[in-house]
Amino acid sequence: MTPRLLRRLIVANSAVLLAAALCGASLSTIEQHRVRLDVVQPSPSAGVVASARAIVVENGRVWLAIGGGALAFGAVGAAVIATNGFRFGMDVATVTRSDPGQLRFLLPHSALEFAALTLAASACQCLGWRILELLAFARRPGPILPSLLALAASAGLGVVAAVVEAVSQAARLG
């Protein structure tokens, strides 16, 4: 069973993500950004497997940053979610206005990636709080196993998201 703290953190981080994405989308709408996607081509990939491997490495870097951020009580996770959520909201609004058909290449892996980020950030914030309970408040900390499991699940989701992104990229390039 998921402990209450982890559940609350997942809800709070999802709210931060949603709010940041809405802010980004609003700004894109206010500034009327558009993009010609026929001239913005991704660099040609060496194949789905090589591309997926490169994306796994990138996702792994972000995951490690969030994991390391547990030592700063998980604040890195919140920062990553807010900044990436803002950019995602802005880009989605821009693409929607310019060429909505392209969203099918963007949304599937993004949803998985943000689910992984939210889970990792929440798990690290939960772990950070447990450390704080133990060190600063001299209390017996709550269970840490659910947070570790959530962290492992987020890593798995990150790998799945990378594969989906590689497939989407290949499909987009035709």
């Binding site: 894109s28 993009v35 604040a75 990436n84 803002f86």
Partner: protein, 213 residues
């Protein structure tokens, strides 16, 4: 707040005699983040303005670059909160290992209060950013090349205003770490010199890491 400038140790001693005020404490890093957000938004708009104008003149869309620029600005706003929490975590860990002070949670409060010292500088930085004129730059040919970007980077590195801003930023950051040391001295009773040496070595390590990054 003025006593934080002129008599930081007395300031922290007075604060510690009262119950912890987390709202007041949070105001420090959050206020710094908000002010840094404004000044960096203005700076980045001015610095990247000529670059984006050139891209637009070439018929290229700047939408994705703009979203990336905003993301960078947001990241800067989070830096203060991250520094506060990372420093607090380090000092608490040090305290648990070597000092065992009775109220380690107050380290988080004193570290947050230290950020009030940065507010005047960050407010002034907004004024500087509004008055800032980026160095004249335009791509040599009709298209932006790697050497054009390298030239822009060099111009920004050599800009007198930005050099002064970077230097003052470093000085205020050093002062902030000094105040972390004063706060820790009051909470944990570690001699002031040792507390300052501890936090200034942290400053050195963070500075080194950011330079390496």
């Amino acid at each position: 707040v003025l006593s934080l400038v002129f008599a930081p140790v007395a300031f922290f001693q007075t604060r510690l005699r009262r119950p912890a005020s987390w709202r007041l404490a949070l105001g420090g890093p959050l206020g710094c983040g908000a002010l840094a957000l404004v000044s960096h938004a203005v700076f980045s708009a001015r610095i990247t303005g000529p670059l984006f104008d050139s891209l637009a003149a070439m018929g290229m869309s700047t939408a994705f670059a703009t979203s990336m620029r905003y993301m960078g600005v947001l990241n800067v706003a989070f830096v203060y909160v991250l520094v506060w929490l990372a420093t607090s975590a380090f000092l608490i860990a040090f305290d648990v290992l070597f000092q065992q002070s009775p109220h380690p949670a107050r380290i988080i409060e004193t570290s947050a209060l230290a950020f009030y010292s940065q507010l005047p500088w960050l407010t002034a930085l907004i004024g500087v950013s509004l008055a800032f004129e980026p160095p004249p730059w335009a791509p040599a040919a009709g298209q932006i090349s790697a050497s054009d970007l390298e030239r822009l980077k060099r111009l920004l590195e050599q800009d007198q205003v930005l050099i002064v801003v970077r230097t003052l930023n470093g000085c205020f950051a050093a002062w902030l770490y000094g105040l972390f040391g004063a706060g820790y001295h009051v909470v944990a009773g570690l001699p002031l010199g040792k507390s300052l040496a501890l936090t200034m070595s942290m400053f050195g390590v963070f500075h080194l890491l950011s330079a390496l990054a």
